[in-house]
């Protein structure tokens, strides 16, 4: 009989392990009509605490999946224990409370409660240097986001872009929300949109220096820059392949701009297209099997897709006379690109050419780049008079400028991590 009791205990333990491993999904992001989850996020104590809470609210609000409830309706003191019955009548489904200590370092404790189940679903302490307050807040956002969606958030990702710098062009980085803009010191007379390696440790880009277009690779680990391709004519970097061992780009070394791949291991150069017209902007799908690119072989620039070896070329866009700058969704089921509708707009289409949608309306919009979770798109726009970097949801909702005011910025690329 004692054994039976023991067994019951083990079974209980077993069940509890599995119920927490098999986490409940609160927000099904695949459902387009999903209602926003009402969440109460208390201000952490202290000025840094308040700032952290505000960043978390902004992060979660931008996803379109959460609705942050006004502080006026918070029925408990932060220090009081969470009680389900206080929140259920208000229709609030999640509560975030915490503690904060501020010295040379910031230490915060975060507790997240599921009102419906009446239980704590996250309890975690975070520490960082004071200067890393934003990163700390974004790390909390990632954990909260994961607790409710089961998916990785993008709140610690960055965006690389090009901006005017002392009469030249430079490559800059900023957080995905536009904070903490920093210059990398990389310059050229002209610099084009940078491309991240899939592990986020390198950037490939093209730059015109001394009347020559070269393709360069920046290694963040070593902080070195290396020229990996140069020739007469116009050379423009495309994406690195997922394994990081090869890159695709366009070059007019043989006359007209064509698509090439270059092995970074043994410098093998392969020409994938050879028409008399223009072939540019190769974009590699995240599994490395397909390349989307722009070709004017049909008389106007249109998006085409081919296999990574150059075979099986298919035209994707047929609507409009100017479709350029393709970029793959990480899942490979959509391509964003710049479509001319009077002015240049951002459009999205399935790789088989179906499901075409226009996402922007105002100004000229170019250089779209998906976030690593495929839920957001960064792009450049001149809608307020000067080119700047914007982000939006991949539905076209919540468009906002994130690059610094007064800085002419374009060519954004969302980091993979």
């Amino acid at each position: 009989m004692r054994l039976v009791g023991l067994l019951m205990l083990f079974i209980l333990c077993f069940m509890s392990v599995y119920s927490s491993a098999d986490a409940k999904i609160y927000i099904d992001i695949t459902s387009p009509a999903a209602k926003k989850l009402p969440i109460a996020i208390y201000d952490l104590p202290g000025s840094s605490g308040r700032e952290i809470s505000e960043i978390i609210r902004e992060d979660l609000t931008f996803t379109g999946l959460f609705m942050c409830i006004d502080k006026a309706s918070y029925v408990e003191e932060q220090t009081q224990p969470f009680s389900q019955k206080n929140w259920t009548p208000l229709g609030i489904e999640a509560v975030v409370k915490g503690k904060a200590e501020e010295g040379n370092e910031i230490t915060i404790d975060i507790a997240v409660y599921d009102v419906f189940e009446g239980k704590e679903i996250l309890n975690k302490q975070y520490k960082s240097e004071k200067a890393m307050l934003r990163q700390l807040a974004h790390s909390v956002s990632n954990d909260i986001y994961k607790a409710f969606t089961g998916l990785d958030g993008i709140f610690r990702t960055r965006i690389a872009f090009v901006a005017d710098e002392d009469g030249e062009k430079g490559i800059l980085l900023m957080d995905w929300d536009g904070a903490r803009t920093r210059r990398l010191g990389l310059k050229g007379t002209l610099v084009l949109s940078p491309h991240w390696s899939s592990d986020g440790t390198r950037l490939a880009y093209s730059s015109e220096r001394g009347r020559q277009w070269g393709i360069y690779l920046l290694d963040f680990g070593k902080m070195t820059e290396k020229r990996i391709f140069g020739s007469k004519g116009t050379n423009m970097a495309g994406d690195l392949f997922p394994k990081g061992d090869a890159i695709t780009f366009s070059s007019s070394r043989d006359g007209s701009p064509d698509i090439y791949t270059l092995s970074l291991k043994d410098d093998t150069l392969r020409k994938l297209t050879s028409t008399q017209g223009i072939e540019v902007s190769p974009a590699v799908s995240s599994d490395g099997s397909l390349i989307a690119f722009v070709s004017d072989r049909g008389g106007s620039p249109q998006i085409y897709v081919m296999r990574a070896d150059g075979s099986d070329i298919r035209r994707v866009t047929f609507e409009g006379s100017y479709n350029t700058s393709p970029n793959w969704a990480p899942s490979g089921d959509r391509i964003v690109f710049s479509c001319r509708r009077g002015k240049n707009q951002i459009c999205i289409v399935k790789p088989d050419g179906s499901g075409l949608q226009q996402l922007t309306e105002a100004g000229n919009n170019e250089d779209p780049s998906f976030s690593p979770d495929g839920r957001y798109v960064a792009f450049s726009s001149d809608r307020d008079g000067m080119k700047g970097v914007y982000i939006m949801r991949a539905s076209g909702e919540a468009q906002k400028k994130i690059s610094p005011r007064g800085l002419r910025s374009y060519g954004p690329r969302w980091s993979p991590n």
Binding site: V17, Y126, R209
Partner: protein
Amino acid sequence: MKSRNFAVFVVMVLVAAVAGCQQRVATKQDAQDGQQGTVHKHDKEAERVTEKSADSRIQSADTGSQYVESKDSTFSDVNFDFDKYDVKDQYKPLLQSVASWMGKNGSSKLSIEGHCDERGTNEYNLALGDRRAKAVRDYLISLGVASGKLDIISYGEEKPLCTDQNEDCWGRNRRAHFVILNKAGK
């Protein structure tokens, strides 16, 4: 007998539970390691939020040119139709005079810059500028200029002559522009 079976069952459940526990920790750790620059530990210990420094600046290596731009570029521009890169007949006398000047000035090189209006997108405009410069270059070669004397460079929409939003300005920006290059040090 019965209690022995129970004991075996208990052990199996225990093993399964532990395995489940371990697996869960492992996958969690893996997912977290993939995240940029953070060191995660067990939930109840503090997560130290850090970042790989990608902020230090590095200097780009400049590729010097052995030619310098001459100040006295005398040739006028060749203009193009919207989204086109064929040389129109009206510019052929101009190119004839460029070709004969090149014949008389043996040590000079000619750089042909391809430019576009701002309405296109960046990369495609650079390709279009490349094609425009090359169309002019090919025509000059057909008139007898040695290809080694002709350089081309595309600037796309990045170096406009004017920034008004009208056809007159766009038309002026859609151009091939000549720059005479003299050997550096001369």
